[in-house]
């Protein structure tokens, strides 16, 4: 690149400021900006600018770029660290920010624009943060800024937004507590590096990240909130929060054995829910959960092949998951619903969207030549290399499951199946453009002749050998798996054994707090009411007594405020003088 274009050389201050902060700043400006077009310019330009800064700050040859060191008492904060791991997420989030921005171009809403920008910026700043305190701040900021996207989904999203916020704030608090404990155990070093599970602080932080990444049992906020957000909101939400947490896990807990099993379970259990779910955005949220399971498992395996696989999987995942959410979003934008039972036959009226959705579905199912084919295989191969056969089989089952619910079910019920009779317009141009970019990337990142090699170039860890995805046995094996899944689907449909699309709400672990918790709360409030009725007389009497006493003493009509005649005041003065004299007299 020409020296002239190195803006970081012209403005050295830029080297000290986390690029994510500029995006946050742009978001804050957008809250005040009444002009829609100007806001859109910010939405597109800010992530590009941040990406440019990351590109210029990251020196491929040196290991890391540190900056923005602040000293708060004994705590030293390094607000900017760009190394070979964080730079991938930095690029990815900037890219996702741009695609999401294009997808949302049609929406004239100040809240969406600004909260999307702040959210994107917080995610970028979070992955580029060098210390755990900055990480915590960004952790909370992503939660707080993104909840507005959920609330934009309408009135029914309000409670889900509150639950989302509560869970994420809790996660942040746990993260901070864990960070403080961990730093204490390490002599006050707040740098965010490998944490491990030797200390209670490490366990707390793992739990905090587990909430955000959706560990089994801690995952329910995702399926609860994402389907209820606004159309663009879901797309934006699906890009950042969980991937931010994956970054934190990869940085802090690479090679933690417990993650292998957590990840393996995480890949399997959403399959069942996804198959019976009717709301397609919820299906996608379950499949998101399942995809995250692959990443968590890869982090747990912790070899460089596995970690590289995770990095690649994160990269392509954001793109194809975004693509799927975008295509369903486009359908919802035109038809007003994302329920499988009310859709079908849309391929006639929305051909481009159909193609985009199929590409996304193929990518998530890891068809050869499509995105996840390379990266998912790396994680699976790493599992085999480490002789982890049971997790391998679980992931294999999950891969078939992915094919089942995301690869077939989503496009099938939306665009094909029985004709719903809806004749709508094709998606708006900006949505098509965003989907087009994502579709292109899905192909490009798995392109055997010079495509996936670029993805390899981003991968942080040195590999003993470059994993070759396009071998005969791999391609054939994958095709067998996929066609077996298609066959199973067809068979089940043929014999009408496949669960029909029904309107129903599926509660899983969130039953704990949505039903039981609600009932406990109702019971508790009833009991409290009774208690307060019985104690109200006592309480009001004591309170009013205290209040009356205070009033009687201190009010203008009260004892302490009686107009003191100067004579009395003089006597008081003399009395006080006497006290001081006595003090002096008896002084030691």
């Amino acid at each position: 690149m020409n020296e002239f274009f190195l803006i970081t050389e012209h403005f050295s201050i830029l080297k000290q400021i986390n690029p994510g902060f500029w995006v946050i700043l742009a978001g804050l400006i957008c809250t005040l900006l009444p002009i829609g077009h100007a806001r859109k310019a910010f939405v597109i330009a800010a992530p590009i600018f941040a990406g440019l800064l990351i590109f210029q700050l990251y020196d491929v040859n040196s290991t890391e770029h540190l900056g923005g060191v602040l000293q708060f008492g004994p705590v030293e904060l390094t607000t900017l660290r760009i190394d070979e791991l964080s730079v991938v997420w930095g690029y990815l989030f900037c890219l996702a920010g741009v695609i999401n921005g294009i997808f949302a171009l049609h929406e004239k809403c100040r809240i969406t624009d600004s909260s999307a920008l702040v959210y994107t910026g917080a995610a970028i700043a979070g992955v580029l943060a060098g210390d755990m305190v900055t990480l915590f701040v960004m952790w909370e900021l992503t939660a707080i800024s993104s909840v507005f996207l959920i609330w934009k989904g309408g009135d029914h999203a309000y409670a889900a937004g509150i639950r989302y916020l509560a869970i994420h704030v809790l996660s942040g608090v746990m993260l901070l507590a864990g960070a403080v404990l961990h730093a204490q155990a390490n002599g006050g070093d707040f740098m965010f590096n490998d944490i491990g599970l030797d200390s209670p602080g490490g366990w707390l932080m793992l739990l905090a990240m587990g909430i955000k990444v959706g560990f089994p049992g801690l995952h329910m906020w995702m399926q609860d909130a994402y389907p209820k957000a606004s159309i663009t909101g879901t797309v934006i939400l699906a890009s950042f929060t969980t991937k931010f947490a994956v970054y934190a896990l990869a940085r802090g807990f690479a090679g933690a054995d417990i993650l292998i099993w957590i990840g393996a379970i995480m890949t399997c259990f959403p399959v069942f829910f996804a198959v019976v779910e009717n709301d397609l955005r919820r299906v996608l949220a379950f499949s998101l959960n399942n995809q995250l399971g692959f990443m968590v498992c890869g982090i747990g395996i912790g070899t460089s092949l596995a970690l590289n696989g995770v990095v690649g999987q994160v990269f392509v995942h954001v793109i194809f998951k975004g693509l799927l959410f975008m295509s369903i979003g486009a359908v919802m934008y035109r038809t007003g619903t994302a329920k499988a039972s009310e859709l079908g036959g849309l391929f006639r009226s929305m051909p481009f969207t159909t193609v985009a959705c199929l590409i996304g579905a193929g990518s998530i199912a890891a068809f050869p030549m499509l995105a996840a084919f390379v990266t998912k295989a790396m994680i699976l191969a790493a599992a085999v290399e480490e002789h982890l056969y049971i997790p391998f089989l679980m992931m294999l089952f999950a891969s078939a499951g992915v094919m089942e619910h995301s690869g077939i079910k989503v496009p099938h019920f939306t665009f094909f199946a029985h004709d719903s009779g809806r004749r709508v317009k094709e998606a708006p141009w900006n949505m098509l453009l965003a989907m087009g970019i994502a579709s292109f990337l899905c192909f490009y990142l798995a392109w055997p002749w010079g495509g996936y090699q670029n993805l390899y170039a981003l991968m942080p860890y040195p590999m003993e050998y470059a994993y070759k995805p396009y071998t005969w046995d791999h391609v054939v094996f994958q095709m067998q798996l996929l066609f077996a899944a298609i066959f199973a689907f067809t068979l089940l449909k043929r014999f009408k054994l496949y669960p029909a699309e029904r309107r129903a709400e599926i509660l899983d672990a969130d039953w704990m707090y949505r039903r039981m918790g609600l009932n406990v709360a109702i019971w508790g409030s009833a009991m409290w009411d009774r208690l307060s009725v019985h104690t109200s007389r006592i309480r009001t009497r004591t309170l009013s007594n205290v209040g009356r006493r205070l009033y009687q003493t201190f009010s203008p009509a009260g004892a302490a405020s009686e107009a003191t005649p100067s004579g009395l005041a003089a006597v008081l003065t003399a009395g006080l003088l006497f006290v001081v004299l006595m003090l002096g007299y008896f002084a030691r």
Partner: protein, 511 residues
Amino acid sequence: MPVMFSVLELMPDWLLTHGPAFLMALPLLMAAIMAVLPNKRVAWFTTFIVTSILTITAFALALYNAKVGTTIYKMGGWAPPHGISLVIDALNAPVLVLIALMSLITVVYAMPATVAEIKPNKRAPFYAAFLLCVAGLLGMVITGDAFNVFVFLEVSSISTYVLVAMGAARDRRALSAAYNYLILGSIGATFFVIGIGFLYMETGTLNMADMARILADLDGGSRVAKVAFAFIVIGLGLKLAMFPLHTWLPGAYAYAPTPVTVFLASTATKAALYLLLRFTFFVFDPSYAYVADGLLYILVGMGVIGMVFASLQAIFQTDARRMLAFSSVAQVGYMLLGIGIATTASVAAGYLHLINHAIIKGGLFIALGAMWYRFGITRTEDFQGLGKTMPLTMGAFTVLGLSLIGVPFTAGFVSKVNLASAAADAGWWWAVGIIMLTSILALVYIGRVLLLAYFQSPPQVNGETVIRNEAPIMMLIPMWVCALASVFIGVKSDAVVGASIRAAELLLGAG
């Protein structure tokens, strides 16, 4: 600071050498001329010019002091132990600036306020009395001679009685308040002069530095010195409204003309507090057992009781100015607590609170005056809707009120935090608790009127909602100067904190 010193280059040499005498002579002289001036407009203008000059002089002298250290000016060329000396050191220079500056702010505010509150034929005498009061306050702060302190104390006090009584045109209760103040103020001054007499008996000198030296030689002195200490502390305690001796204050603040209240609240008690510092730490010394006991049991004891009691009283007041007056008594308690803990940090914190509180209360009383000026508001319940009818005035009131409570990024926060940390360092954890408690009480009494102002709609008069009617610009300027100053100190406190630490180090020695 070196940048500031370049200001000194602009000052003529005579101002720096003879400035101390000039500071008290100019207002004295002008007061005499003013009293016979027939034209009321000239009176305001002259007062404005005089106070401006005083402010510049005081500022220059304070800078000069920061540059070259303590300066002693010999009145009429007579050397100190025998002649009268004027001293400018790190302790009194900030107080001088404060008094001069607040007098200037008061005069600016007084231009519209006096028109409404003082009869035309009384305005020239009003300004004369005001200048006399300024002269007295500056004199008692600047002089190094103990008897001279008494003289100037009386000069300022007597002119204050007159000023308070002038409020009778607005509210007849001003007369009884002024009378009450006269009696108690005279008792205070008498006590003080009796104390000086005893000190003279003990040491044979009236120069304060000399007294300090001789007392130290005598290792605290005999019983006479103890008696002197008792009389001086109680006499000054009356003047600075130490808790049970504060009974004159609410009446005087509430019924005096509003500019007088502004000036009294921000300077009169502060000058007396300065004298208390001067006598307890400079003339006497906390190393004498009777001084230490007095600090501990009287100043801290009364200070803390006053903080709680007066805050509670402020909560229940229906008259806004009385509310702030009781709050002043409570704030004096903070300063006494700081002085009573008697470590360098705590005295610095008390001193800092003295300066900050002067600015805060001055501004608050200006805002209240503006509300009276426009709507005749004196009661707290009349605050409803003021956020809409007088947004700028209410804005300043809010900023200053938050500062009084001690919200971060305001002056009140800086001094309260310093005081609390000084108390904690000295191991006085219960005092930290009291500071927190009274801050909450302050939140209640300020919050009460803020809620009314912002969350109630303006009242209806004759079926029509009262419309916006902002205070005149000459009131807005001084109140916003105070408000912004309090925010400025809250954000960038080094200069003021530095000055207070220098003052405390002068009194207690570094460390």
